[in-house]
């Protein structure tokens, strides 16, 4: 038979994080309780607190992990501004739970050092993409922000169901590429 019940869970931290991610995907970053995560992980209601402190602690961990995955995804597309834009949207859609927490600082502790390191890492890649995109135009900052805004705005609108397209069976990446190419002038 399976594992014997033991007093110690073994990897409660990860189990709670995974439960949180699943819960966020189902009902948003506020649609669940710490006690529910504990139940899903099969531990007592106060066990998660030891690893995360409080609810904001769980969300801080989610955001930190999210920014790390995000930085990784962007770095993989570094050098290609258009590809970075696509990667941005891809990440938001594929890792919806992370994305929905990452850009809502009131949910977590924004001064977390690990989180800020990953966030800055992602920021550098974006800035580099922006510089490359606007080479020679002398409008670095505005171009970078515009590119960032399109990717972020499209992803947000898609995720919250504001786009009629997200109701149908439309292909996100296909649509994202069309939209991004308006700003990035990418190969269509």
């Amino acid at each position: 038979m399976g594992k014997v019940e033991s007093y110690h869970h073994g990897n409660l931290r990860r189990a709670v994080l995974d439960a949180a991610l699943a819960a966020i995907e189902e009902s948003g970053p506020s649609g669940w309780s710490l006690r529910e995560l504990a139940r899903r992980a099969g531990v007592s209601h106060a066990a998660p607190a030891h690893h995360f402190g409080d609810k904001a602690g769980v969300l801080t961990a989610v955001a930190a992990e999210g920014f790390e995955l995000f930085a990784g995804a962007l770095e993989r597309a570094a050098g290609d501004p258009y590809g970075s834009g696509v990667a941005y949207v891809r990440f938001a859609v594929d890792h919806r739970a992370y994305f929905e927490v990452m850009f809502r600082p009131e949910l977590y502790r924004a001064d977390d050092p690990e989180l800020n390191a990953a966030r800055d890492r992602a920021g550098s890649v974006l800035a580099a993409s922006g510089r490359k995109l606007s080479r020679g135009e002398g409008e670095d900052r505005a171009t970078t922000l515009a590119a960032w805004s399109v990717a972020h705005g499209f992803a947000s609108l898609w995720l919250n169901g504001a786009l009629p397209e997200s109701r149908g069976q439309a292909d996100v990446e296909e649509l994202a590429r069309e939209v991004l190419s308006v700003v990035f002038g990418g190969a269509e």
Copy 2:
């Protein structure tokens, strides 16, 4: 002296809405309780329920009112795509509390008819701006979405403090105009 205390509040619905807007501005759409709104309005803890049903009811009313104000702001700039983009960002910044609820459908009842009417009204103006913006390019939908995305993305990033600029004393509208002009090709 002032008004005599009466059993009936007089305009509790509005008082609760205003309290909600203030609370949202202070601590986000989830950072307060119905009971707190009741206290701010000086009524018993269950009074608001009679006007709104439950918490989602309050947020539904906020979103509906928000979409109406939003539609009005966009209509006032109708005909000028670039101006519509500026109005979009202006609205988000000036009416942060509304904006933060409007695009988070999991917070309210998305099937509210009054809300949907206002939402569609705003949608029409945006679509018209998009058509005008892309006249002759035969890329209506992509251009419309790109313009919408830039405005929405910039506003979102600004509001959640993701832009370094939003930390300083930068002028939102000034920066917004620069960013929007990258996509809208507007007069800079």
